[in-house]
């Protein structure tokens, strides 16, 4: 059975006072079998992709068909310029994909709409790992955020590839974030094939397809800054207020555990047991509780949950690195280092976060963030492709 746990940094709090704290959710799945993959390519065929870009696109698609697709995997292609259309429906490695003809402008919005139409026509299938690979070398207005987020409701996550300096990394990064995916920087057309390989290798390890997290928040409690770690995927913008919420997580990959960091505030902690929230994922349920006490000695002696601390600090660092705030991220990594002597998991966290921070370019940093994973025993590492 999958299991889920929700903990605060301290499981006791001062009674008759409001509480501001941090917490974390950890999810352990029990499926060790990789899911077959549905790879939906969304390719920019605007005028700027003509020539070498057109050739690289075709090469990448052919390479995917010939060398990457497993017998059970499927691939489909949507192309877009000023408008978008289905270029090739689901096919396996034995199928063929027609060539591309380039021209026109770049419209991300129409591409996303076509993705939703296509996915909507097939429905959600949790037995397959759905991955959208969105590639563009141009600028466009930002598509409707809610539409991008809706992709996850079909069990798909979307990764974006920005090709050449003509791409808009800010929008593409934002789109990847909203769809629980990662942004890949491809400075030259030759980098596209590498990005394809990286995304495909990731997709091959998926064991749970964008699972839902159901959250029930008690009265007087607010959750915010829900970040899936270690990749730093923002799961919800703004506050989660009392009531029921369904959130889509990013895929869970083999031999990993799901982690979410959050901030929590409660109007008042009563003496004794307080149920703050319940979480359900993959059929498992966890309650987030805090025990109110007036005994200050007990509070002082209550241990801090270091696992929660590391998850939340990792979320802080990765969020800052995505924003480009390397300075504050470095300060937090230095903070976490103080835990290394007493907490073996801290070493793997500081090591991997330092590697991300020291990446040679923003693109490489974002790609490395996407490859971060936490093993089942809580060690953070960079996934090998």
């Amino acid at each position: 059975m999958p299991s889920i746990a929700a903990n605060l940094v301290k499981s006791v709090a001062l009674s008759n006072e409001p509480l501001n704290s941090r917490g974390a959710i950890t999810i352990h799945g029990d499926n060790e079998n990789e899911l077959p993959m549905d790879l939906l390519l969304v390719l920019d065929i605007s005028g700027s992709m003509s020539g070498e870009g057109e050739r690289v696109l075709l090469d990448s698609v052919v390479h995917t068909l010939d060398h990457l697709l497993r017998p059970t995997d499927r691939i489909a292609v949507i192309t877009f310029n000023n408008s978008a259309s289905l270029h090739s429906n689901w096919t396996d490695s034995n199928g063929t994909i027609p060539g591309f003809s380039t021209g026109g402008g770049t419209n991300f919005g129409s591409a996303i709409n076509e993705v939703l139409t296509f996915l909507g026509s097939h429905g959600r299938d949790d037995s397959r790992a759905g991955i959208v690979l969105f590639l563009s070398d141009g600028h466009s207005s930002m598509p409707n955020e809610e539409n991008v987020r809706t992709i996850t409701e079909f069990g798909f996550t979307m990764h974006t590839i920005g090709v050449t300096s003509g791409a808009n990394p800010t929008f593409l990064q934002n789109m990847a974030d909203l769809a629980r995916g990662f942004y890949f920087d491809a400075p030259g057309f030759n980098d596209v094939k590498k990005a394809f390989g990286s995304i495909f290798n990731y997709g091959k390890t998926v064991v749970y397809s964008a699972p839902d997290l159901d959250v029930e928040i008690s009265d007087g409690v607010v959750l915010s800054e829900l970040i899936q770690t270690p990749q730093g995927v923002n799961i919800h913008e703004g506050d989660l207020k009392p009531g029921h919420h369904t959130l889509s997580l990013t895929h869970m990959v083999k031999d990993s555990r799901g982690e979410l960091a959050f901030k929590i505030s409660a109007d008042n902690v009563t003496d004794g047991d307080n149920l703050l929230a319940t979480f359900q994922c993959l059929g498992a349920k966890a309650e987030l509780r805090v025990r109110g006490t007036l005994d200050e000695t007990e509070l002082l002696e209550a241990p801090q949950n270091i696992d929660v601390t590391l998850i939340t600090k990792t979320g802080d660092v990765t969020t800052l690195l995505k924003k480009g705030d390397e300075h504050t991220a470095t300060k937090i990594i230095t903070q976490i280092k103080t835990l290394e002597n007493s907490h073996p998991g801290a070493s793997s966290v500081t090591k991997t976060l330092t590697e991300v921070k020291d990446a040679k370019s923003d693109g490489e940093r974002l790609e490395t963030l996407g490859r971060l994973t936490t093993t089942k025993d809580g060690k953070t590492k960079i996934r090998e492709d």
């Binding site: 299991s3 940094v9 301290k10 001062l14 409001p18 505030s265 241990p303 976490i336 007493s342």
Partner: protein, 364 residues
């Protein structure tokens, strides 16, 4: 002192919650220590643990002997008269003058020659006699140099210091068996155990046979004529100095422990019934977990540093056997355990759980 994140001034309520109550930012342990110092709050102390008593020198109980004729307990001058000739009360002559007749119940010397070991220790398998009675129960001795080793306790027979001396083949035990009575306890099959021909669902029970220094299960002295059930992970303490736990309930169809755990520093080993073992110092009732009590006794008995157990939190973590693999849930441990397995193969290799100064070996 300011919050790392929002720069607001930190106060005692922030210290109590280990987080800034303005922005929710976590205060790391180093920050907590600094804030304690800044606010003048005394430093934390490691939790104290209630140590069980082990006495290297047993309590001296006056020698006595019952007169074989009038059954009067003879002590002091009465005993001296008996030893010199006869009972002062009935005149019964002492026919055994010159032999060792004045040993008290709890200081009888232990046989010291290994050659004296009988067939008890030589039996390596649990057997079922033709009439279906079970002969031996496999136990783990959890004190002294033989800690963690298996011994076979005869079932349905009085066990005392002589029997234990044959099983505990190390000189260390000679000095520690003197609190064990000559007929101290008996291991039995519980009355409600189902026995169908040669197959049993064994429930092992222990009866105290009126011993001087008592028989304890889960730290509670057992009394009366009925048996008290002994389950996996329960500590059976004989007279205060000898502790053991169940390794395998006897029988052709025994109840088998889900897995075994050894606390590496003490060597204490125990079986886990079901699939979960709490590895914190205290149970849900705030009582010391029995594995911790056994480890503490053993560490002190062997003059090792027993304070290492205090590095495990009261409710630190639990080990779960899940489909042939070990998982660990950490609750409030200050240290996160590190788990290693040689090959990662299911049901084959032991797991090592390392937790600062403590480590555990989990075997199937």
């Amino acid at each position: 002192m300011k919050c790392f994140d929002c720069n607001s001034s930190l106060s005692k309520i922030d210290l109590l919650n280990s987080s800034c109550q303005t922005c929710g930012e976590i205060l790391l342990p180093d920050d907590v220590d600094k804030l304690r110092q800044f606010l003048g709050v005394s430093a934390s102390k490691p939790p104290e643990i209630e140590n069980p008593v082990i006495e290297s020198t047993p309590e001296v109980i006056p020698d006595s002997v019952d007169c074989p004729n009038c059954n009067t307990p003879l002590m002091g001058d009465d005993l001296a008269n008996w030893e010199s000739g006869s009972c002062i009360y009935c005149g019964e002559p002492n026919n055994a003058i010159g032999s060792t007749t004045t040993q008290s119940d709890d200081i009888e010397p232990t046989p010291s020659h290994p050659d004296n070991r009988g067939s008890i220790a030589e039996d390596s398998e649990i057997r079922i006699s033709p009439d279906g009675e079970l002969d031996f129960c496999s136990m783990i001795i959890n004190v002294g140099p033989m800690v963690g080793q298996s011994i076979k306790i005869p079932m349905g027979k009085p066990i005392g210091r002589n029997e234990l001396a044959k099983l505990l083949n190390d000189p260390w035990y000679q000095g520690h068996l003197n609190r064990v009575s000559s007929e101290h306890f008996m291991v039995v099959i519980m009355p409600d155990t189902v026995i169908l021909e040669n197959y049993t669902n064994d429930k092992i029970g222990v009866m105290d046979l009126g011993s001087t220094n008592g028989t304890y299960i889960l730290g509670e002295r057992i009394t009366g004529t009925s048996a008290t059930e002994l389950r996996y992970g329960y500590d059976l303490n004989i007279g205060g100095n000898i502790q053991m736990t169940l390794e395998l309930a006897a029988g052709a169809n025994p109840i088998v422990a889900g897995f075994f755990i050894t606390h590496d520093q003490s060597g204490v080993r125990w079986g886990v019934e079901g699939n979960t073992q709490h590895l914190g110092r205290l149970d849900s009732n705030g009582e010391m977990e029995r594995w911790a009590a056994m480890a503490d006794l053993q560490l002190r008995a062997m003059a090792k540093d027993e304070s290492i157990i205090a590095y495990i939190s009261r409710r630190h973590m639990e080990v779960i056997l899940d489909d042939g693999r070990i998982k660990v849930n950490t609750f409030e441990g200050k240290e996160e355990p590190e788990i290693n397995q040689n090959t990662g193969a299911k049901d084959v290799d032991p797991y090592f759980i390392t937790l600062g100064k403590n480590s555990f070996l989990v075997e199937f």
